[in-house]
Each structure stands twice: as C-alpha cells, then as structure tokens.
Symmetry: C2
Subunit: 530 residues, 2 copies
C-alpha cells in the first residue's frame, strides 16, 4: 500500500484554538468566564478574543512574536491564551511572584513585543522595565516592549501605565477579523519560564500540537466530563494552568476566575458557582482546612481536586474527603506540561484508607497523550531498575518520586529523602506544615533539619510542642540516621507557603543554597527566583 497523501480533507494541524471555536458554536450561550460581577458566554469570549487578536496586529505582532503578561487569574489572562495565538503570537505568562530582575530577564530573553500588566503589578513591571533600560542602554540592541495596562474591569482604578488599556484594545478590535491560521502544529503557542534553584530562568516552548494533546491527556486522565465549573485556584502562569487554560474550553466549561487564593474567596466561589473542578498544590489544602468558620461554606456536591507540585500528605487527604473534596494526584513539570495522573483503579476501593492515601501520593502513570515514562540514570541516560532510589516505578507501573535528586540529604553516606521525612512529620497530629532541608554537619557531612508550623491546641496555644517532642516522635517512627538533628518549631497562626522559609533556613543553618525546603516543584521555582 502506498503512503497516504495529505490534503485539507484528511489533515488539519492540531491546535487548541479549535476548542474555543467549538465552544462558541456548541456552548455559545453557556458561561465561559466568571469573575465577581463580570460574566461572559463562550460566544462573547470568542468575540472578545477575535477583537483582541485584531488589535494585537496593530502592534505588528507576527508569527512567533512573544506577548508577555503579568497578571493573576483574571478573565484577561484567560482570554490572552487564545487571543495571542489567534494573532499568530506566543503567550508568555510570567510568574507574578518573581522579582523585578527575573521579570526583566524574561522580557529580555523572550524579546517580548508587548507586555500586558495587571494594575496590581504595575510597580513590579515598572522596576523590571527600568532594569532593562539601565542594563541595555549600553548595548545597541535595546528593544523595550509596548506596554498595555490591564485595569480592574469592574472598578477601573485609573492607573496610568503604558500606552493602552486592555478593554480599549478589546473594544477597538474588529470581531470579524480572520484569526491567524496555524500552518504547522509544531508552531509555538506558549513560552513558560522555569528554573533550577540557582540558575537564571529557562524558557520552555509549547507547541500547538503539544498543548492540544496535553489538554486531552489531562481531561481523560482526570475523567473530566463536559460542562465542568472550574475554579482557577492554580495560577495560569504555571504551565498555562497545566494546559487547562485551553482544556476547559474543550469541555465547554465555566472558568471561575480568582485573584487571590484565600480560604474565603475559594469557599465563596465554590458555593456560589457550584464548582466541580479545581487544581492546586497541597499547600492549598491547608488553606481550605484551616479556614475560619465564617470563611467556610457548605459544599453541596463533590469538588474534584487535581493536586500537583508535591505529593499530598496522607493526613491532609483524609481530612479533605469529609469536606466534599475528591482528590486525584497529578505530576508534571514546566518542561513537559501535565504528564502523569495517579489514575484510580477500582481494585483499590476496598483498601484501608491509609493504603489508599499511600497509593494516591504516588505520581502515577503517563496520560494516554504521553507515549512513555521512565526513570533513567542522569549520568548515563540508561533506564534504572524499577526499584531506583529517587524515582521508583512500582510493579503496577505507577511512578513514585521519593525525592528530587537535589533534595536528597546524604548523611554519613546514607541517603535520606526529605519528602519521606516530611511525610512522617505531617503524620504528627499537631503539625500543620513541615519542610526538611540539609544542614552542614561536622561529623555526618549533612544532617536533616526540619522546619515546622504547629497547630494551636484547644487553649489556643502552639508553644506546647517543642523541638524535643518532634525529635522524640521521629525517633519512634524512623531509623536513627533519618531523625532530624534540629527542628525549628513555630506557630501555625499564619499560613505561610513553604518556600517562604528558605531565607530563614539559609540564615539560621547555612543550608546549601542548591537545596530548598520542599520537593514542591512550583514552590521551588518561586523560591529560587525570590
């Protein structure tokens, strides 16, 4: 048989832009994006994206040009995921937690043509642009991006920054414009910056094909049915919300935008919009679990949570269930996008809850959209046996990451997994948060050091739990060499993201700057860039 000839009738480049076109046609009158008093239907979202795409062309955005944006999870950021590629450009959603130096580095490295800035991040953006001007004025290649302000859509602040305001661009664009037609599914659609812990941010390019397949993979792996109501608790600047910025359109869903992931705002939106799905890191579990009574709202039907960034501790999983949250564990990285889902198997339904939590803490299996998953030796790139130290593939094919290689603490020749140790610390009834790092030790080379946030007791006190109690607890549960030599306990009054502890760790214990106090991929990223 001969090779098939490709033609328009049998070959179309894969692109998630078609998800939006399809949603506008099929779910045209259904809510697409909701944010406080702002509501759009899929037909409106499509039209707004066409208008914005048209306006972007007046900035001379051409194929493969980068459009950067610094914004929280607001409707504008969602729309830009379609509008920018519909103008032929590449969207670059910048982590809002970065410092001006890193933002400047990203703008310079990506050669961004346009820079959209939410009104809350004007100062950060201004500083970044100043750094660019200062450092680049000595070179001949000074190219500053055009700047567009994204003001509050409901109550404009009137902030003055840049040449245009977002809604102005939407209004002036022609909704009848013909969007850029994807010629090659390998064309870039998004640029996401990640980093190790010490290096400059690294750019990762996503193609139309890649995010099309990634979206379908996560939809199937998570078993997301049609018309989900999706709460944007996961920042869109993390792998474009694990590619769900496009995926929600594929399912005709409703995007519930969220400026801040406070307990009150999350519960309010979940109850008000009957949220069915959300994604987050385990740290958000703490925010939900520790909410004050007046911040909570009853959840009428189960909310599916896809959790990633760090394995969800068993103790948290068991507490989330009674509140109405059904957790699935997922794993990915900026370089790949969503990759693994810990797909639940019916045979596990009758296991004791502790075993279920252990199984669910595993990173899982490759989605159907990812061809292969393996653990290799970094030096030789040869597959290791399925019982490797850092990444373990269980006999059932599910991957468990015991630790990131740089988080392994080597104490007297013994490898200690900071994640394993953290998971024991989490099992302590009074531990709210736990983070383990390596500290230098004159005898053992390195020793584990724990940072802990302690929950209040019934008398409102948290200082009754001492370092010695924690160390004694670990001695009962762990081999001697794994027990932390130091444990810094503090009040769990204020929920602090784990990564905020890194400076403390460095100051107090002189910890190696190549290690961070958690294997939390996203936390680590943010941490490294702070």
């Amino acid at each position: 048989m001969d090779q098939l000839p490709k033609c328009d009738a049998n070959y179309v480049p894969l692109t998630p832009i078609n998800f939006l076109k399809r949603a506008a046609k099929v779910y045209g009158n259904r809510l697409s994006v909701v944010h406080e008093r702002t509501h759009f239907t899929w037909q409106q979202t499509y039209e707004r994206c066409l208008r914005l795409a048209d306006s972007l062309r007046s900035f001379n955005i051409a194929k493969n040009d980068v459009v950067s944006v610094l914004a929280p999870n607001i409707p504008a950021l969602y729309e830009m995921h379609f509008a920018v590629p519909m103008a032929g450009g590449v969207i670059n959603a910048i982590n809002t937690r970065l410092n001006p130096n890193h933002v400047a580095t990203i703008l310079r490295h990506s050669e961004a043509k346009v820079f959209f800035v939410d009104y809350q991040f004007v100062q950060l953006a201004r500083q970044a642009l100043q750094i660019m001007m200062t450092s680049e004025s000595i070179s001949s290649k000074l190219v500053l991006p055009s700047v567009v302000l994204i003001d509050d859509i409901e109550s404009p602040t009137g902030a003055i920054f840049g040449e245009w305001e977002y809604e102005q661009l939407v209004r002036k664009g022609n909704p009848g414009c013909i969007p850029y037609e994807v010629q090659d599914e390998w064309d870039p659609i998004a640029l996401n910056y990640t980093s190790g812990t010490t290096s400059e941010p690294k750019g990762v390019v996503y193609s139309h094909r890649g995010v099309f397949l990634g979206s379908l993979g996560i939809i199937i792996g998570w078993e997301m049915e049609s018309e989900p109501v999706y709460l944007w608790s996961l920042p869109m600047f993390h792998c474009n919300g694990w590619t769900l910025a496009w995926g929600i359109a594929a399912r005709g869903g409703t995007n519930v935008c969220l400026r801040n992931t406070t307990a009150k705002d999350m519960y309010r939106n979940i109850a008000q919009h009957k949220v069915t799905h959300m994604c987050c890191a385990p740290i958000v579990f703490n925010i939900l679990l520790e909410a004050k009574p007046d911040e909570r709202r009853e959840i009428s039907s189960p909310v599916q949570i896809l959790v990633g960034g760090a394995p969800p501790p068993a103790s948290l999983l068991e507490k989330m269930k009674p509140l109405g949250f059904h957790v699935t564990h997922s794993y990915g990285l900026t370089e790949v996008g969503p990759a693994l889902v810990c797909e639940w198997q019916a045979k596990w339904n009758d296991l004791p809850s502790q075993d279920q939590s252990r199984i669910m803490a595993r990173q899982g299996i490759n989605t159907v959209a990812l061809a292969h998953m393996d653990v290799k030796d970094l030096s030789t790139m040869i597959s290791v046996p399925w019982d490797g130290d850092i990444g373990v593939i269980h006999p059932d094919g599910y991957l468990e990451i015991k630790d990131r290689s740089k988080d392994v603490i080597i104490s007297g020749g013994e490898n200690i997994s900071s994640v394993e140790l953290e998971s024991v610390l989490y099992s302590h009834p009074r531990v709210l948060e736990a983070a383990v790092v390596a500290m230098p030790h004159p005898v053992w080379g390195e020793s584990p050091c724990a940072f802990l946030a302690i929950k209040k007791n019934s008398e409102g006190k948290s200082d009754d739990v001492k370092e010695a109690d924690i160390i004694a607890y670990c001695r009962k549960k762990l081999p001697h060499y794994m027990v932390p030599k130091k444990a810094e306990v503090s009040s769990g009054d204020v929920i602090q993201p784990l990564f905020s502890k890194k400076p403390v760790a460095e100051k107090a214990w002189g910890c190696s700057p190549t290690r961070v106090p958690s294997s939390h991929a996203h936390a680590e990223e943010s941490c490294a860039m702070k």
Copy 2:
C-alpha cells in the same frame, strides 16, 4: 522566536499501539479480553500480540502490507488490531456479511499478503479465493494470500483450511520480539472497505495518527471513564468498531467478545460481566426490547449505549431507558471514523421526554479531535445556510441529517425525507420496524412506499393492523403529499434487519436501485454488497 527543533525527547509519532503498551503496564492483571470461557489479562494480550506480530514476520509482512481477516467479534480479531501493525502491517477487517465476489474484490484490491478466516466463514472465504483464482489466472499478476484458519479457541473444530491455525502462530512467535516502530504517524494502520449503493467496495485508509485521535475523541465525547467493561455488539469490521478496538485499551477496559448479537447472548454477557458500555445500530435496540422473558436478565447498573448508523427513533429511546440503557447518539462514516457525538447538555435535563428524544436523534457535534464539521453543496462545495434541506445545523451547532441525499423522495416536486416519514411510522404503537423507499408513480414521478413489521397484539396476532390503518395514521400526522401511497405490513415475529427488505422492494415495487429502504449507513453498505 525560532521554530522548535523536533527530537526524540519532544516528538513521538502518535500511535494507538502505545495504548496497549500502557494497558499492559498499568492494568497488567486486569481482564482485557473475555469470550465465553476464554479470559486474558492485558499483560497476556500484549504478549500474545507480540508473539503474533513475530509470527507474521515469517510471512514476510513488511511495512504497509495488508493482512485481511474475516471473523466475528472474537478475541483473535481484537488482538489482530494490535498485532498486525506491530508487525508493520495494515489490518483489513472484512465485513462478514459480504458475498464471495465482494470478498474476492477486496482481497485483490488490497493485495492482501495473509488472509485470516474464522472457522464459521471458511466456505465464504473458499469461494472468494476460487473467484480470485479463476479471474486472475488469465492475468500474470496472480497473487493469492497465505491463509490462516482461526479455529474455535475453546473447542477446536479441526476444520482444515489454509496453512496455519491462529493459536499455532501465537504459540510459535517470540514474545521478546521488538515490534515495528512507527516512524511516521501518517503510516497506515487499517484499511476499511465501504461502498455507495451501486459501486464496487472502496478502500479507506486509516493512519496511526487518525485512529489515535479518533479514539481519544470518542472517549471524551462519550465521557468513557477508566476501566469500562465493553460489550462488542458493534462489529469490529465497521470502522474498527468505531476505532474502539484501540480505544478500549486506552481506558484499560475489558473487551467482552460476542460471536452473535442475539438477545440472549447480549443480556447474559451484560449481566455476567457487568457491562458498562456498548455500541450498536438502533436495530439492536429492537433485539433487546423484543427479547423473550427467558432471554432477559436484570441489569444492575446503567449500560451506556453509543448508537449510530441511523437516528434512534424516539419511541425506542423511551423504551430503552427503563431497562437500564442510557443512550448517546453518535455519527460517523467509514471515510472518517467516529466524527460526531450528540453530547448531552445539562440545560436539556428538564425538557419533556419527547423533546429530549428529538434532541438525541440529532447527529451532534464534532468531537474535540475533529477540527470542523459543515454542510456543503455537493456541486459547488460551498457551505450552505444552516437551514439546508438534507443536513441541518441547528443554531446550537448540532447537526441533524434529515436524510441521505439519495434517500430523499421527490414527489410532484416536493422533497420527502424517508427518515422523517420512518420516524412517524415508528411512533405508531404497533410498528416494530419501518422502512420507506421511493416507488415510481405515473403522476407524481415518485411516491413513498412503506414496509412495516407489526408487533403482535395481546392475542398473539399481528394481522389486525392493515395497510389502511397505517395510511390513516399517517394522514393524521403528516401533510398529504408525505403520506405513503403503499404500505406493506408483515408480521414482526422474526426480527429482520431492515436491509433484508431491499430485494422485496425491488421486486414488488420496482424501486430505484439507487435507493435503499433506510438511511442506515451500515445497513446500506451491507445491502449494496449483497
């Protein structure tokens, strides 16, 4: 930004073979294929496919060589969907309802290298091969395929046909063989023959990429969760079971094989294996609904049915629900594979049951894996307004096919849809089956003629419903010009597929041979080839 370079780390050809590899790893001990007393796990299925692929190489199967098979829905046919492409070949599952002439045409046209034949179809295969020899002996290009018998795996009949038996090939193959590696996702994986109503069969080539995307599209459109138990009521020779021959592996499902779609066998397997999903044409609804009491089994949890080939009549939909069947309508064609699914929308949940049935009878919307769906004028290939006569796209984007163009009856200049007329006939409480064709008419040019199978009344009689009753019924429901001028009523004792009536129609009424008594795509195919 520059174009991305493709490399092994970021680009892998799409192929459904990976579904099997993944199922073997993740669902290794789960039931993959069940047929009566035969049970395989996914690990076993993978090993058997590797063995068969290895054996196929001894037939010198190389890239793009065709392997034909004539078999019902048995484990061997399922395995061949993976084993043949794992040897680099192209699977060609032949419709078992064809006559020897057509089978010979397909074998010749596809230049099949190997021909697998189930023991029940030895006579058909033998005749086809004889036709090939006779007609080809005069040409110099006589290439007969090697023949492999597929005997009954549980109770071998000892039939002697061909050089090998299927299980022999599985046994002698090396399970450690390295399967053919797909170099280009555009490589062919399957060859399916279809036809219009008068022409020779036409070959349709499916690529690895095409069936990969098609499978994911139908999984998402049908909302098929993981670990389905799938009853093979739809022949695998129809678009490879609407690509689900591969799709079930993608979901780690269990394939319940079925040699014959009798009511008894279907109910027995549904109850025994707790079937969750099945596909079929509406004719199978009749088989299930008209089952005798001793053939029925109670259905403990809902069975999802994807129905295609013809719009499901409202009257049947309403009867299926109480039995435990939840119906979704789908539309496809051999040239495309599964294309549309009538995705249910929450806003329809509160509509009256009659409106729901009308909505569900629409062909639906393109799956996320299909970029575009449209209705065009055949002569100009220009899109028609969304209110076209034959294909209608409703304002909500859902397609309804009023009729196939060749089934439209033109009577005195008025277009009459045979499908619309059939749907009115189906609403008659005593009509079991209805088929409408055009008959020549001296005044009107053409007139509708109905063929009806009548259900028995409480006294076991069906001859109390006369032609005049049917015509009177239609007069009450339809404009005068649409009422059938003739209605042939017969007993509904024996369930007969609609297409079996075609010869009657031709003989009795001299109906145009370009029309068939149903818009049923699969029935039509079979009909045309008989």
